[in-house]
């Protein structure tokens, strides 16, 4: 279900916690699985739950509680824009509108070519860098402008 590499990463996470507390690694394990699979199909959640010796429903609760997990297939590049108040005061909404126009999609939609998914995010703890967006959950792009968005999209399109 998951690659050796992913399993090794999960094992490293498990090792952070005391014996018998494997469940503590569920968040990391789901993240690692999501990076490999692109999103979290339910059979992957069930596999991860079994790997950590926890009931699948408990893993599903976690997967649905934290909003960076994707429970539906998404584009290769997920772009999450913060539109919370501090960002909104500094162009966050404008950036989001620009992305919608450029990609031709709304929030929670994926471009027909499967490249991009646009999401509205909550506070990323980087309000001083507004506007900010996240690429595929793990890379934060700060101080965005329309020009920087253009070059980001160009770079991602070329990948």
């Amino acid at each position: 279900m998951l690659s050796q590499e992913s399993l090794q990463q999960i094992d490293r996470e498990i090792a952070k916690y005391p014996p018998g507390r494997k469940q503590s690694a569920i968040m990391s394990a789901l993240r690692i699985a999501q990076v490999e699979k692109g999103w979290l199909p339910k059979d992957v959640i069930e596999f991860v739950a079994a790997y950590l010796g926890m009931p699948p429903m408990a893993a599903y609760e976690v997967a649905t509680f934290y909003n960076m997990y994707d429970l539906e297939p998404i584009g290769r590049h997920k772009i999450t824009v913060c539109t919370n108040l501090p960002c909104a005061l500094s162009g966050g909404v404008h950036v989001a509108e620009y992305l919608k126009r450029r990609l031709g999609i709304g929030f929670n939609e994926t471009t027909p070519d499967g490249r991009f998914t646009l999401k509205e995010g909550e506070c990323m703890g980087a309000c001083g860098d507004a506007p900010v967006l996240l690429h595929n959950n793990h890379h934060m792009c700060s101080f965005m402008t329309m020009d920087k968005i253009d070059s980001l999209l160009a770079e991602l399109e070329s990948q």
Partner: protein
């Protein structure tokens, strides 16, 4: 002790009490939804907010610990304001459909809304709608009614042992669901219907059939497993509409097994026998009671006259009442027959000669809470005794009870098992001997002289681990389960278990198979001197049989043999709640008797409680209470002592004296069986469970239970290594041959000892296989 003042009342409460506990003690009701005394405290519904002196904010009574001198107001202006605020939030997304909701009339939300709800709704935004779930044949879902109290989810995880339900998502999208929309398969699932404070979870079999206020409530006792679960049976117009738990803190608490809750559906089965019937010239005819009884009496008298009393055998179900079993044994003995038994699935009766008394659990059910170590020998604990298992689970999860097991089966009991000796049936005695040897080494006490020479040369690691677990000098117990009791060398297993208990200072107990497994002994429904036991009555066929409440094909250790024995008898008089092809094939006269709801009676449970109950409905058709049928038969046979006025008189006669004094699990010496079944090469040992929903005639005919996962048709379950050795893959069809042959699907099951095949008994699909124990051959088709 702490002192607290609630609404001006001063009460003393033990340390560690919550305000809710104190209120309960003071007889003050604090509104609540998520709080339930048997579940962990969520403190999430916030309905129980109360005013506490010096607290700046209202506090939840369910989670606030009492401190000495605390002052609490549960109905002050501040408290009621908080409670009304919460009620409004609960109602904004709750559909206004009480008239069509099955919970109407017994809905906590409805009740409390009367007191705390507003007259009009201030919420005028969009309402939330959730899709109903398919939780299986027993539980109906109306998801939009859910108020997210999470009682159901907590129940599955904390009491059921497996988190089948959870609350996914967050915010006001938080929603109770199962993983992947799976059905809820726990044998305790129905309790979430009782727990649900609203109409989100209701009983599928019961829904839309009646309103709670139309129903009469009657106390009763479960006729199923050995716990003696207390029931509330609800009836309308003489028909049982549903069954709810009768709270008994020392037995079932407030829980029911699904079997107890839903078996009532069988009471209305089309297979109910509603008229006495006689077979005449191969044709079955409904006849009057008088005709049926006269026929029976005449035939019996003729056989006894010609061939003596010992040509008559009386075989009764362990689910029969004390009154029925007592009158049956009295009747048989009146006919000068000592051939009486109710242990129909048992094989080894050597213990009868050396038994101390009636087998029982050996300890109060409540004491499971304090056990530190338990050894379960030969048991399908979770399905045989779901609520007993639940108590063991609770103790294991919460109080550190170490559960150990010996036997061929290791299905998931949803509790941690510390050490397990997974051995084939034929190796169980040796495994127990190994534990005894390890215990002797551990404790320095010698093994009893008579057993010393039977000790094994090597002691397995599992035996050592189990011995260490038991030897701690703390409170421990050794329990024998149904597989041990039905084992061909049951008496030896009993003997070894006794030795283990002696060496470790543990209590010895029997889990018990049925509602009257202990009661049957107490009333003497077992063979007397020179009498034949259940096995012998089949192996040495009698001329006449009185069959009481049992189905010949499904309720015996070897259904095929039982059918054959009955088939050649001159007279089989069968008293039965239900009609069945097997009965029609083997009996000559069918006497319709009342199920537990239509007769008064008594069951003695596994701890020796004699619990009597009354009929909750009139007998269906011509059916009559079994004890009355037997009394009339006794009269017609001219036997003395059949003139009791009511069932209480029968009970008092049957259970005279101190029951506790008759309970004794001691066993004297039993020699090693000479015909110990040595597994022949290429053959597998059968492991036969009695599936939970095939265990007795009532539950077999409960339609909703028959749609559950636990009612799936039997398969041939084997470990991967056993399958591989046979060249069989999981999913293959296999031909299984015992004394007869059946075809089944092979299923991989790692919870089985190598060299074993687990095939359920008590099921029409496997009757032909013959005995529940012994060798089978398995081959791929």
């Amino acid at each position: 002790m702490l002192e607290i003042e609630i609404d001006g009342k001063t009460v003393q409460v033990p340390d560690g009490s919550t305000v809710m506990d104190a209120a309960t003690l003071a007889g003050i009701y604090i509104p609540h939804f998520c709080y339930h005394k048997k579940l962990s405290i969520a403190a999430s519904c916030r309905m129980c907010l109360v005013q506490v002196e010096k607290a700046p904010k209202p506090l939840p009574a369910c989670a606030t610990p009492v401190t000495n001198g605390m002052k609490v107001w549960t109905h002050s202006e501040a408290a009621v304001k908080a409670q009304k605020g919460v009620m409004e939030f609960l109602l904004i997304n709750h559909p206004l459909e009480c008239p069509v909701c099955d919970q109407g009339g017994e809905c906590q939300l409805q009740d409390l809304a009367v007191g705390y709800g507003g007259a009009h709704a201030r919420y005028r935004e969009e309402k939330r709608v959730w899709v109903n779930k398919n939780f299986g044949p027993l539980i109906a879902s109306d998801a939009t009614r859910c108020i997210n109290c999470t009682r159901c989810a907590r129940f599955t995880a904390e009491i059921g042992g497996l988190m089948e339900l959870g609350q996914a998502h967050r915010s006001d999208r938080a929603e109770i669901m199962s993983f992947l929309g799976r059905t809820i398969d726990s044998e305790l699932s129905g309790n979430i219907i009782d727990l649900c404070p609203v109409g989100a979870l209701t009983s599928k079999p019961f829904r839309f059939s009646a309103r709670t206020w139309e129903l009469a409530r009657r106390r009763s006792i479960s006729p199923h497993d050995s716990l003696g679960t207390n029931l509330i049976v609800q009836t309308r117009h003489d028909k049982v509409m549903r069954v709810l738990p009768g709270v008994n803190e020392s037995l079932n608490e407030c829980w029911l097994t699904d079997k107890d809750r839903f078996s009532y559906e069988a009471l209305a089965s089309e297979q109910r026998l509603v008229s006495p019937m006689i077979r005449q010239d191969g044709e079955w005819q409904a006849v009057s009671w008088q005709a049926a009884l006269e026929f029976t009496v005449a035939a019996l008298q003729g056989i006894v006259r010609e061939q003596g009393g010992q040509s008559v055998g009386a075989l009764a179900s362990p689910h029969a009442t004390v009154e029925e079993l007592h009158l049956l044994q009295k009747l048989a003995r009146g006919l000068a027959s000592e051939n009486i038994d109710f242990r129909l699935r048992q094989r080894d009766f050597r213990g009868d000669a050396v038994r101390g008394g009636a087998p029982w659990l050996g300890m109060p059910v409540l004491d499971i809470h304090d056990l530190r170590s338990l050894l379960v020998v030969g048991s399908f604990l979770r399905k045989d005794a779901p609520l007993l298992a639940q108590k063991v689970r609770h103790s294991a999860l919460r109080h550190g009870l170490r559960v150990n097991a010996v036997g061929p089966n290791a299905e998931d009991w949803l509790m941690p098992v510390a050490a397990r000796a997974l051995v084939a049936p034929a190796d169980m005695a040796a495994a127990l001997a190994g534990i005894a040897a390890a215990l002797a080494a551990e404790t320095g006490k010698p093994v009893a002289e008579t057993l010393a020479e039977r000790l094994p040369a090597d002691i397995s690691a599992e035996a050592r681990a189990i011995a260490q677990s038991l030897a701690g000098g703390e409170k421990s117990a050794v329990w024998l389960g149904s597989l041990a009791v039905r084992h061909p060398r049951a008496a030896e297993l009993h003997l070894w278990a006794q030795e283990i208990a002696r060496l470790s200072g543990a209590l010895l107990g029997f889990i018990g198979e049925a509602a009257n497994s202990t009661g049957g002994y107490l009333v003497g429904a077992v063979p007397g001197a020179g009498g034949l036991d259940a096995r012998a009555m089949i192996e040495s066929p009698r001329r006449a049989y009185l069959l009481f409440g049992a189905e010949p094909d499904l309720d015996f250790a070897d259904g095929a043999a039982a059918m054959a024995a009955l088939g050649q008898a001159q007279l089989v008089a069968a008293a039965s709640v239900f009609d069945s092809p097997a009965l029609r094939q083997s009996a000559d006269v069918l006497l319709p008797i009342a199920p537990f709801t239509e007769t008064s009676g008594t069951f003695v449970n596994c701890i020796g409680d004699a619990q009597s109950f009354h009929a909750v409905a009139q007998p269906l058709g011509e059916a009559r209470p079994g004890w009355k049928v037997l009394r009339v038969l006794g009269n017609l046979l001219g036997l003395p002592g059949f003139d009791q006025d009511d069932s209480a008189a029968v009970r008092d006669e049957a259970l005279s004296g101190d029951i506790r004094a008759c309970l004794d699990n001691a066993i004297g010496d039993v020699p090693e069986a000479e015909d110990a079944p040595a597994a022949q090469a290429g053959r597998l040992q059968r492991v036969a469970d009695v599936p939970i929903y095939f265990a007795d005639p009532l539950v077999r005919r409960a339609p909703s239970l028959q749609k559950t996962a636990d009612a799936a048709p039997p398969a041939a379950r084997m470990s991967a290594s056993t399958l591989a050795a046979l060249g069989v893959s999981a999913g293959d069809k296999v031909r299984v041959t015992g004394t007869g042959t059946v075809e089944l699907q092979a299923v991989a099951d790692e919870g089985l000892a190598p060299g074993c095949v687990r095939i359920a008994a008590a099921h029409p699909a496997t009757v032909a296989l013959g005995p529940m124990h012994g060798d089978l051959s398995v081959e791929r088709i």
